[in-house]
């Protein structure tokens, strides 16, 4: 079922799958009408979808290195685009992005521009060339292009630092969702999440991850778009929210004027539970300086082009041409969700603050709001809080606080959608977090098993042994990530942004110059990776410990400093040492031409 035959039948297979999932949603909706409890619906949604992913993971099992590392290089463009989109959109994108836009407005939307604009760099600077190279992993490219075990090893180090920072956040997110949906303590839910993740990737490696990620994309995009369209129609805001919310955006602006942004005193804010925030920034006005916006967008764009778990998805396409197109499809599928997040934020905010809507709570009496069912639920879940600071008995804009996740998780309930939608959203969040975690864990385990174990430690190892090592590493890294996630030391979004900064500090210029500058050599690349990563890390530690920073570079954009150091170090050291040998130069020439055999490997 799974071989060549399977590839030809992909549209049919996933068409049936999508139909089946929609039918499942309808069955759940009927179940709800017939009195199924919300807890049972939540469990069904998460258990059913995870079981499907596990089955796909099992069916994709393989004993071949090519299938395990690069899915046999036969993933068609559009499906690779879906898989990349799922790989890319993490639990943070799904659960926290609309919330970030809701609270921070324009300044936060630099992330939308950055996390999409980066794909232009991926398509034009890197993906097709790395595909032509024919490598299994990103450090494989660095190690072969520049030569020497040191450059390979440094690339593995940068990859591990960046991806591991990222993956703890994803396992944390799967744990959060599993603990809510299955109603079990977070410390155990983290491991339930981990086992689900490993079920997808362990047997089939990249092949298993590819086909589960396509399935996960379908779940997450339905789970994100369906509520947005439903809420918009229910509120009468517009049939197609993306094109029709201008009045609502303007209305929020008017209400902001009318209410005013009243600053709360420190004593009052101390009463607000940790993690909740009030509306303090304009919704659609420009509220950040050009450099604050541009530096954050730039850091995310360069980080996108350096993150190995994204790059390695383009190693799985059948050709160089397909790799380029596939980047376009990836971004299209990402665009579907990203362009909906601001719409959800708008709908959510308006439905809460507009006194003329039945769901609006600003201007109502405190006692009245406290009596609302959904307020009580989300207050109990520690995601909503109100307090009568000025003692006038009426809820003001500055007296209402919410957690970032609530925008995605609570808006369907506030708008009066049936509970089945909340179950669907939980399944979508789980899919988003799982697919990203899978890609990341696989990127780390593959780099260590292929580049450190096979290429450096034991080049004579047989395929079977290599794949055993790869799988053992997968489990070890997964458990390490889950253990750290269970400690709950960082927030989800902060650590995601750091991962981009780490990746760009160490890998952006060594990758790009490897293709575009023939004169770049081993010494330069090693200096670029080592000094870039160290200076970025140093800057982060300095700013975290009260350092003032410079040029407006913050702890969210430290990669700009790291990558600048990396560029200078790489160019200076390359020029001070001898040019790469003729064989390497020929290799670069080869990479630049799509036709012909790949530079390394058989296909």
């Amino acid at each position: 079922m799974i071989k060549g035959n399977f590839i030809d039948n992909l549209p049919k297979v996933y068409g049936i799958y999508t139909g089946g999932f929609l039918a499942f949603i309808i069955i759940m909706a009927i179940g709800e009408q017939m009195g199924m409890t919300s807890k049972a619906i939540g469990i069904c949604f998460v258990a059913f979808t995870v079981a499907i992913y596990a089955i796909i993971g099992y069916l994709s099992r393989t004993a071949q290195a090519d299938a395990y590392y690069v899915a046999g290089r036969q993933v068609p463009t559009v499906f690779n685009g879906m898989a990349t989109a799922a790989d890319w959109m993490s639990g943070a994108s799904f659960v926290a992005m609309a919330g970030g836009i809701y609270f921070k407005g324009y300044g936060y939307m630099a992330l939308l521009v950055g996390w999409t604009g980066g794909y232009v760099l991926v398509a034009s600077l890197l993906a097709p060339y790395l595909r032509k190279f024919g490598c299994y992993t990103v450090p494989d490219f660095i190690g072969t292009r520049y030569g020497g075990n040191l450059s390979r090893f440094l690339a593995v180090v940068v990859l591990t630092v960046a991806s591991f920072t990222y993956v703890t956040a994803q396992i944390n997110a799967t744990g959060t969702i599993a603990s809510v949906a299955l109603d079990i303590p977070f410390q155990y839910a983290v491991y339930v999440g981990l086992i689900s993740i490993l079920l997808c990737s362990m047997l089939g490696g990249m092949r298993g991850v590819t086909w589960t990620q396509v399935a996960q994309y379908i779940v997450l995009i339905i789970a994100y778009l369906l509520p947005v369209f439903w809420i918009s129609n229910k509120m009468g805001a517009g049939f197609f929210p993306h094109f029709m919310l201008a009045d609502e955006v303007a209305r929020i602006g008017d209400l902001e004027q009318q209410f005013g942004f009243v600053a709360n005193s420190k004593e009052n804010l101390a009463m607000v539970p940790k993690g909740l925030a009030g509306i303090t920034k304009a919704h659609s006005a420009v509220n950040a300086t050009p450099w604050a916006f541009i530096s954050l967008a730039l850091a995310m764009m360069m980080g996108t082009a350096s993150l190995p778990h994204v790059m390695m998805r383009y190693f799985t396409t059948p050709s160089v041409k397909a790799a380029r197109k596939s980047v376009g499809w990836s971004l299209f599928f990402i665009f579907l969700l990203y362009s909906s997040a601001p719409m959800l934020a708008t709908l959510s905010k308006l439905s809460l603050i507009d006194p003329s809507l039945p769901t609006g709570i600003i201007g109502k009496s405190i006692a009245e709001v406290q009596a609302i069912d959904w307020y009580q639920n989300w207050n109990q879940a520690n995601l909503m809080f109100i307090s009568d600071f000025n003692g006038n008995g009426t809820l003001e804009l500055n007296e209402f606080f919410m957690g970032g996740k609530a925008v995605v998780l609570a808006t369907p309930e506030i708008a009066g959608l049936p509970y089945v939608i909340s179950g669907l959203v939980a399944a979508g969040g789980m899919a988003a977090a799982m697919s990203t975690a899978d890609g990341l864990i696989l990127a780390i385990a593959n780099a260590i098993s292929h580049d450190v174990y096979y290429k450096i430690i034991d080049p004579k190892a047989e395929t079977a042994k290599r794949l055993v090592v790869a799988r053992v590493l997968l489990v070890v890294i997964g458990f390490a990530g889950a253990t750290i996630a269970a400690l709950e030391i960082q927030g989800i979004l902060g650590s995601v942004i750091w991962a981009f900064d780490f990746a760009m500090s160490g890998l952006f210029f060594p990758l790009v110059l490897g293709v575009w500058w023939k004169r770049a050599n081993k010494e330069g690349a090693c200096a670029g990776m080592a000094l870039g990563l160290l200076s970025g890390l140093g800057y982060l530690i300095w700013v975290r410990n009260g350092g003032s920073g410079f040029l407006g570079i913050t702890q969210l954009t430290f990669g700009i400093f790291g990558s600048a150091v990396s560029l200078v170090a790489m160019v200076v050291v390359s020029l001070m040492t001898s040019a790469p040998n003729a064989a390497t130069q020929r290799m670069v020439d080869d990479v630049r031409v799509p036709a012909g055999k790949s530079v390394i490997g058989k296909n």
Partner: protein
């Protein structure tokens, strides 16, 4: 100039053009974010707000497909394109 050098020259030219367009919509316009937001954009949204929600994002999608097609044409022109399907 060899065929391969010419091919690379053209490829580089396309890269610069692509990056120039990318620069305008990811960085350039946001230098004037505050001023531009006073202007009405598509569908009646404030212009800068629209770019951050949809405009720049959508332009990037189109830009990548445009780039991929142009690059394919360049590869074909020099006979460097791969045989076979997508």
């Amino acid at each position: 100039m060899s065929k391969q050098e010419q091919h690379w020259e053209k490829t580089r030219g396309l890269l610069f053009m692509t990056l120039a367009i990318w620069f305008v919509f990811s960085i350039g316009i946001f230098l004037f974010g505050a001023e531009m937001n006073e202007v009405g954009g598509p569908f009646g949204y404030p212009l800068t707000y629209w770019f951050t929600c949809q405009g720049s994002l959508g332009i990037f999608v189109i830009l990548i497909f445009w780039f991929a097609n142009r690059q394919e044409k360049i590869d074909e022109e020099f006979g460097f394109s791969e045989r076979g399907d997508d």
